[in-house]
Amino acid sequence: MLLKAENVSMQFGGFRAVSGASLEINQGEIIGLIGPNGAGKSTFFNCLVGDLRPTEGRVWFDGHDVTQASPEEHAKLGIGRTFQLPATFEDLSILDNVMVGAFLRHPRVSDALEAAHRVLELTGLSEIAQQKAKTLGTPGRKRLEIARVLATEPKLMLLDEALAGLTPVEVRRAIELVRKIHQSGVTLVIVEHIMEVILTLTDRVLVFNQGKVIASGKPSDVVNDPAVVEAYLGRSLSRQKGRAA
């Protein structure tokens, strides 16, 4: 088992954002985290990557207890993450953004440069490597974030809505990229709203609602679970109908 979260809870003052969520991820899986807005997906996600320290429960990664570990330590152990709102280093070139990631495993500049170019090649950013990150649009920034994390050579990569806000064509390209990353041996956790992504990519999904995991299993089964339809799909469907009318 690569990652194990047991009974993780996160309390903000009087508000319990995540309550007793558990998750086990095996090497080579792609796991989806879905649920309506404010369901606690992102909070749970941030507990897994060290941005938040859970108020209850434990998280193990690769045999280490990482419940209290800092984000830096998570990265060092091999957990990479992207941000919901891209947090690229704006003033740095695309290459330098990736270099920062590459330095984690390659302290020497020449080695890091080589590793960074490999990642840029894989993610299709080679041709614009010298541009500043701030010249990129949202799809480019999301791609750059993935590239930067990839350069840290993670065992587990967590993508926080890495495909949200993309056009259908861009989503397809991004799905291809995620597949490529998975084939290279990286285990993935994907937080996503787009059902197409979840259905085509993931082996297993966890559905969050009001801070609790209300269902988990194969994506095709979960989609038909009445509790899930009620909590998530039902509501969004009815909202869509309302918009159409």
């Binding site: 941005d51 830096e72 690229t88 280093f89 003033d91």
Partner: protein
């Protein structure tokens, strides 16, 4: 910068004191270099790491007081005070850095202001350090190690050597993993952390290095002027000066602080002599105006303005070239 540019810059800096016989210019040259040293030292923490210290006068003052304190206590050469100033500065940097570098945002800046003022007030009231009168060095050189020279030229070359060393270290850092990490921290701490950058440690190390060279600048200042009091050592204007000079030239750029010093120090000196004794207050007003102008129009300083200008010119040239090519194609096709 191209090789010819570096050589030209080196020649100008080395030959400057030899090309004037006027003590005013010799003095001005050494003041420019001194300001460039302390602004370049500030640039490490404030420019590259983006942690705006408004209290680097702490280290400048420590570096200035220590040599004269050693002289006062044991009548030894001020040179012995140099390492002592650096040691005190590093200790203070660690004391400020460890608690504040865990936090992001303005806590660090606020802490530096508070500690600097605290130290200035303590020193102003402490007889051991001369209280508000300050400390004085040897009036006449006993031997070379007192570093007292009639002309400004020896000081000029001493300052130049330290500046070159500092810029060389900065240049090496810029191109190393540490340099990349600092720029990443300036650009986004949370993201840097997620990529495994040891943020607090990097900030602390660069702050210690910044403190070291700022202290050295203070020690150099005091061997040249032979005198320091609380406001010329720990004054707020000393801290602000470093920020303005570096930001004006280009914070986070190797030669930004030097450029800032070359422009602002002569300006300051001219303003002081033009307005006479009443001019010192005007310096503050001019600085306020510069801060506003930089913050509003050019946060990257002069060097970034220059970069943008060149970029725009290059892109205009490319466009003109493309248009010319397109035109000739059209002509060819109509001709064919």
């Amino acid at each position: 910068m191209k090789r010819t540019g570096w050589i030209a810059l080196a020649l100008v800096l080395v030959l400057f004191p030899l090309s004037f016989d006027d003590p005013y210019y010799e003095q001005l040259g050494s003041l420019v270099l001194l300001a460039a040293i302390s602004a370049s030292a500030w640039n490490l923490i404030g420019g590259y790491a983006g942690q705006v210290s408004v209290g680097n006068a702490i280290f400048f003052g420590a570096g200035a007081y220590m040599p004269l304190l050693f002289y006062k206590l044991w009548m030894v050469s001020p040179l012995f005070g140099f390492p002592a100033g650096i040691a005190v500065s590093i200790v203070i940097a660690v004391i400020i850095g460890i608690p504040t570098f865990r936090l992001s945002g303005h806590y660090f800046s606020m802490a530096t202001i508070a500690v600097a003022e605290l130290i200035r007030i303590v020193v102003s009231n402490w007889d051991f350090l001369g209280a508000s009168i300050g400390l004085t060095g040897p009036a006449v050189a006993r031997d070379w190690s007192d570093l007292i020279f009639r002309s400004s030229t020896p000081y000029y070359y001493m300052f130049l050597a330290v500046l070159v060393l500092l810029l060389f270290i900065t240049y090496r850092i810029e191109r190393s993993r540490f340099g990349y990490y600092l720029r990443a921290i300036r650009s986004g701490e949370r993201a840097a952390r997620s990529l495994g950058v040891p943020v607090s440690r990097c900030k602390l190390y660069i702050f210690m290095l910044s403190a070291t060279f700022t202290s050295l600048a203070g020690s150099l200042y005091v061997v040249k002027f032979g005198f320091v009091d609380p406001s010329s050592g720990f004054g707020t204007l000393i801290s602000v000066n470093m920020v303005i000079i570096a930001a004006f030239g280009g914070a986070g750029r190797l030669l930004g602080p030097l450029l800032g010093a070359v422009i602002l120090i002569p300006l300051q000196s001219e303003a002081n002599s033009f307005f006479g004794g009443g001019g010192t207050g005007l310096t503050y007003i001019i600085y306020g105006a510069i801060i506003m102008l930089i913050a509003r129009y050019e946060p990257g300083g002069l060097l970034e303005m220059w970069d943008r200008f060149r970029e725009r010119r290059a892109s205009r040239r490319n466009k003109a070239l493309e248009r010319a090519q397109a035109d000739s194609k059209v002509q060819n096709s109509t001709a064919g």
